[in-house]
């Protein structure tokens, strides 16, 4: 599904150059549940952003199915993000001016879907995630676990094929984190590919494959070993 070859990314801070990624080769197949681990600053988030084409690498190639993403326009890339990718973040990142239902409707809005259909779809997703009674709650009225579930509903709005989650349980107590993981597990069973960054060794073993980064390089990859 995705092939990364020699992906590098460095940040120019004037006097110093920080190499966040120094040449990553990674192949992701459809239906995998990959956990990405590694010490702080090893480049996990950077890798995830590049996978989600929010960031562009300095070098290397990124192929999605048969497309070379380096050649696509902003409009085409945005459409891929909108239709095929779903993002889940550590700090939930919901829009505070909008209620749960409206937050979930955002990706549908960018897809150009009409109001009534949008509302129906968002409502279905939220109730699937057990938030029937929280449709009109604003983010600051929701618990962390509820917020993250709204965020997952938002990520799922356009039926993505790939979920990119950056420490989705990082801000949650372990029982709530477990809840989130169950949801991701369930999605993966339904055929959605999941890439999840985590610090938690226990959670790291819950995936079908674990990629460890160190200093911008892949230190180990259970998928390759297997």
């Amino acid at each position: 599904m995705i092939t990364l070859e020699g992906i590098s990314k460095s940040y120019d801070l004037g006097s110093v150059q920080i190499s966040a990624l120094k040449g990553i080769d990674l192949t992701i197949d459809r239906g995998e549940f990959i956990t990405v681990m590694g010490p702080s600053g090893s480049g996990k988030s950077t890798l995830l952003h590049i996978l989600g084409i929010l960031d562009t690498p300095d070098g290397g190639t990124y192929r999605l199915e048969d497309h070379d993403l380096m050649t696509l326009s902003d409009k085409e890339l945005s459409r891929i993000r909108n239709q095929h990718f779903g993002f889940v973040f550590q700090s939930f990142n919901l829009f505070n001016e909008f209620n749960a239902l409206e937050n979930v409707m955002f990706p549908l809005m960018y897809a150009g879907i009409r109001g009534s259909e949008r509302r129906e779809r968002a409502q279905t997703l939220l109730s699937q995630l057990g938030l029937d009674h929280r449709l009109y709650h604003y983010p600051n009225m929701l618990s962390g676990g509820e917020q993250q579930r709204v965020a997952i509903a938002r990520a799922l709005a356009n039926d993505p094929t790939l979920i990119l989650a950056d420490e989705p349980t990082g801000n949650l107590p372990s029982d709530k984190g477990e809840e989130i993981l169950q949801i991701l597990d369930g999605l993966n069973r339904d055929g959605v590919t999941v890439v999840m960054v985590t610090h938690d060794d226990v959670l790291g073993r819950r995936g079908s494959r674990c990629v460890r980064l160190r200093d911008g390089l892949v230190e180990s990859d259970t998928g390759r070993a297997a």
Partner: protein, 524 residues
């Protein structure tokens, strides 16, 4: 993203920052209102200037004897017949001046006089006497009319002090028998002299003096209308060339001629609207009416004109024209004709470009005739131009301030939007992750600023007529023509101001579109 969704999102963001948004909207509204009303105002002002420059009153040259300037509101010198009548300008001087000049096209008399259908005491009665007499209250008239009529310096409404009793210079007395005009008396008898004889007889006999009865002086023939729908209306005492100089044509009947004037015919020519007001049933021409205690025969009705009085703004269609009686007085059935004084002579040119040269010609002529400096020639156009120059400068300053107001409001909008872009950096990153293009992010912000600009522009346009009125009363209260709001220019001004304010949302929106998504998501 569909435009309606974009708008709904904009409204939510604006609602989230309501107070600062409202302040910026109001500032924009003020700027838009100022610019729009100034645009409309300047347009009306220009139109008015154009109109005034084409107005016959500004192709005029006013000639007055020095010390006898009746055009002044307050004479600098007390009126003193002994000194001021030294250079007495008369109706006869007009033709002489026209004969001795080449560029002057018209010469005429044109004095204002309110014409009243009322008898003194029964209503308002005010008249501006020939050559500058003031308003005389009814009580002055009834005090002692015999003395007034018989002795020099008496006060009567018709002639100014000093101009009566005639004759002064080359006056003749004509019987009112021309057929056109009409005295107030019946037949040949003069009720005035009859009363005087009566009084003298009583005095000689030692009897009680007969009581003065006003009515006997104002008895009129049966066919004379004394009751008219209007109590009074503006009048001009003119000589015949006034009609040519002002381009006034008769629609019905005829204009009066200088022969009418010289014979003292009591005739009147009416403006079109005035005719309709006075004679709603038609048939004005030939009717005899009593005005200012005199009987006039309606000689003609003028075609409608767009001219308005440059001083009062009143339409010339509401004005009546009577022969300028500077040359004669009809009193008690007798016409007393005087050569002078007439007070103010008026000359006019067809092309105002000739005004300067015509002034010189007239000056040379009058200096030769009466001695250097004995007459003063003023060109209303010059005064108008000086006044307009001053007003234009004031308008420039106000326009600058209005534009500055809009500019400051727009800068506030700019700052507010830039601040929002910075504050919403993380949100921008998330929307990009959810599928918004850079273009969509920019459009969202532009939509927000445009929404505020538009709201401000709508409010500003709504209040701009009020601002317009304010400007009007503050700037040129004395110019009465600029009363109609020019809606087109008000709208165009508001639209221009809106577009101007819109531009200030472009830069912040573009900045929002340029934000790097990955960086934005990492930001707090």
């Amino acid at each position: 993203m569909r435009p309606i969704d974009r708008l709904l999102v904009s409204i939510r963001h604006i609602r989230g920052r309501l107070v600062e948004s409202i302040l910026v909207v109001l500032a924009t509204a003020v700027g838009v209102a100022l610019v729009a009303s100034m645009a409309a105002f300047i347009r009306s002002y220009d139109e008015q200037t154009e109109y005034l420059l084409s107005h016959p009153a500004y192709r005029e040259l006013i000639v007055e004897a020095v010390g006898n300037e009746t055009e002044l509101d307050e004479p600098a010198v007390e009126y003193d017949p002994d000194t001021t009548s030294e250079t007495a300008l008369g109706y006869d001087d007009i033709q002489v001046a026209l004969d001795n000049t080449t560029l002057v096209n018209y010469g005429y008399l044109a004095d204002r006089e309110e014409l009243s259908t009322q008898l003194p005491g029964s209503g308002r009665f005010s008249g501006r006497g020939m050559g500058g007499g003031g308003t005389v209250a009814p009580s002055d008239l009834s005090k002692d009319p015999a003395a007034g009529a018989g002795e020099a310096g008496g006060e009567l409404p018709f002639p100014p002090p000093g101009a009566f009793p005639p004759p002064i210079d080359g006056a003749d007395i004509a019987d009112d028998g021309t057929g056109r005009g009409d005295g107030t008396g019946s037949g040949g008898s003069n009720p005035f002299s009859a009363f005087r004889e009566q009084r003298e007889a009583a005095a000689a006999a030692g009897e009680e003096l007969p009581e003065f009865n006003l009515d006997q002086f104002f008895q009129v023939d049966d066919d004379v209308l004394t009751e008219l729908p209007l109590e009074s209306f503006p009048g001009r005492r003119v000589s015949a060339e006034f009609f040519q100089a002002y381009g006034l044509d008769v629609a019905e009947g005829s204009e009066f001629t200088n022969e009418d004037l010289e014979s003292g015919n009591q005739v009147i020519v009416l403006g079109s609207a005035l005719t309709e007001a006075l004679f709603p049933d038609g048939d004005a021409v030939g009717t005899r009416i009593r005005l200012n205690l005199q009987t006039y025969t309606v000689l003609g009705v003028l075609s409608p004109t767009t001219l308005t009085d440059t001083e009062t703004g009143a339409s010339y269609n509401d004005v009546a024209y009577v022969p300028n009686a500077a040359a004669q007085i009809n009193f008690g059935g007798r016409v007393i004709r005087m050569g002078r004084p007439a007070g103010t002579l008026r000359f006019a040119v067809d092309d105002s470009a000739n005004l300067d040269l015509a002034t010189t010609e007239l000056q040379v002529h009058f200096d030769a005739e009466f001695g250097d400096g004995s007459v003063r020639i003023t060109a209303p156009l010059e005064e108008l131009q000086a006044e307009r120059e001053k007003l234009s400068q004031i308008l420039s300053v106000v326009l600058f301030l209005a534009a500055a107001g809009l500019f400051i409001a727009s800068i506030n909008l700019f700052n507010l939007m830039l601040m929002r872009v910075i504050k919403r950096t993380k949100g921008i990153g998330i929307t990009r992750a959810l599928g918004a293009t850079r273009n969509e992010v920019a459009r969202q912000f532009l939509n927000e600023s445009a929404f505020m600009s538009l709201t401000g522009a709508v409010i500003g346009f709504a209040v701009s007529p009020l601002v317009y009125r304010l400007l009007q009363s503050a700037l040129i209260a004395e110019v009465s023509n600029v009363t109609v709001v020019n809606w087109l220019f008000l709208f165009v001004g508001a639209l221009g101001a809106f577009l101007f304010s819109l531009i200030f949302g472009v830069y912040p929106a573009r900045q929002a579109g340029r934000i790097d998504a990955a960086l934005a998501i990492r930001s707090e």
